[in-house]
Subunit: 223 residues, 2 copies
């Protein structure tokens, strides 16, 4: 979809929280132009400044979410799950024509339960309509993994759900440039399982006193 | 719960299908007394005979499901998913005082979708009442793995869900003696995610033309 010489511009919406900055930093490190989005432009700019300092660059911008979305080719939504629906509704016009990667897992860390269908990504697709191509990914990547040194590859596997497998290709590149394996796991309804896996991983972390539980896929050859 | 010198007796209910015989064979190989259960005693006996021939023993019995359950300490339910509810209701009295390991994933192999809550195991617990301790496990073990040579360890990870973690101990032994890692993944509601993983694995197998997709847990130390 994007030419070899033109990497897509990525906006990380709600990008000042636990997951967003770590992803944004890595994509910028791997040559993508990255914009941090936030409800408040000042907050986005503060996070962008911190990330630019870590990278020794000034390439990362900070903008209000809507402006960030409009400037981007691919938007990655990393808002806290309680803000998901409101964020989707507020960005409907800004997301037209874009790929929206929804990383939302509607799971309470203190009381992890599997969320009820439809999946967050299905819900987003229904509310945004067919002008936006929603892809679900990154719901299981632990924030602790993103705090690792930037030159250490992440080792998690990422299940990607989308109604159209063609939309998966660009998102797979965003996964694989971080050192992770990307697997196409079916349509947006399947994303309810991936969201639920977050509740399982939190349960495992609590029971086994870990912080880094993650899943890997085996027995699948992608060649 | 069971003394070191007394391994629990295992009944594999609905044990003549895709999953049951492979599990039964391996547990018998590892020294457990195993009973194959089926709706028809003759069918159970035929499967038991085949397995005994493979092992060069006559230790595996074949009985009608109810009789098999009554003789066992731990019952493992491996009926086809469309027969789940009926099997549970028909075995209510026979399962009293037992651990019931529910391996059911209510997923159609031709059209894999995540099942709707409640999980099969939660549904079983509700219908069986508190006289039966339901544990969910083995929903993701691919039938192809069970067709491997019996002296080859299985390499899948098994997520075990139960309302009482104390019930997980014996079931973990059934998992680990087969070479698999057992992880306690929270209460029976979480089993809806594990069931759903079966639909994800089938989707992966279809897309990547595999038959052996499975999941593994990483980042958790059980020591």
């Amino acid at each position: 979809m994007f030419s070899k010489n033109h990497l897509p511009i990525i906006a990380v919406l709600g990008g000042t929280g636990n997951e967003g900055p770590g992803l944004a930093l890595r994509w910028a490190y791997h040559g993508y132009q990255v914009i941090i989005g936030s409800r408040l432009k000042e907050k986005a700019q503060a996070t962008a400044t911190t990330l630019n300092e870590q990278l020794g660059t000034d390439s990362i911008l900070g903008l209000e979410n809507g402006a960030a979305a409009r400037k981007a080719d691919i938007c990655v939504l990393t808002v806290v799950h309680t803000a998901h629906k409101q964020a989707i509704d507020g960005l409907k016009d800004d997301l037209k024509g874009k790929i929206l990667v929804d990383a939302t897992a509607r799971v309470d860390f203190r009381d992890p339960k599997p969320p009820s269908p439809p999946s967050a990504a299905r819900l987003a697709q229904e509310r945004l309509g067919s002008d936006v191509r929603v892809v679900a990914a990154f719901q299981n990547v632990p924030a602790t993994a993103l705090r690792k040194s930037i030159d250490q590859p992440l080792e998690d596997d990422v299940l990607i759900c989308a109604d159209d497998p063609a939309d998966v290709e660009e998102v797979s590149k965003l996964v694989e440039c971080l050192g992770m394996n990307a697997y196409y796991a079916g349509n947006l309804d399947n994303a309810i399982v991936v969201e639920g896996l977050t509740s399982i991983l939190i349960s495992l972390n609590k029971y086994y006193k870990s912080r880094s539980g993650s899943i890997q896929i085996s027995g699948i050859s992608k060649d």
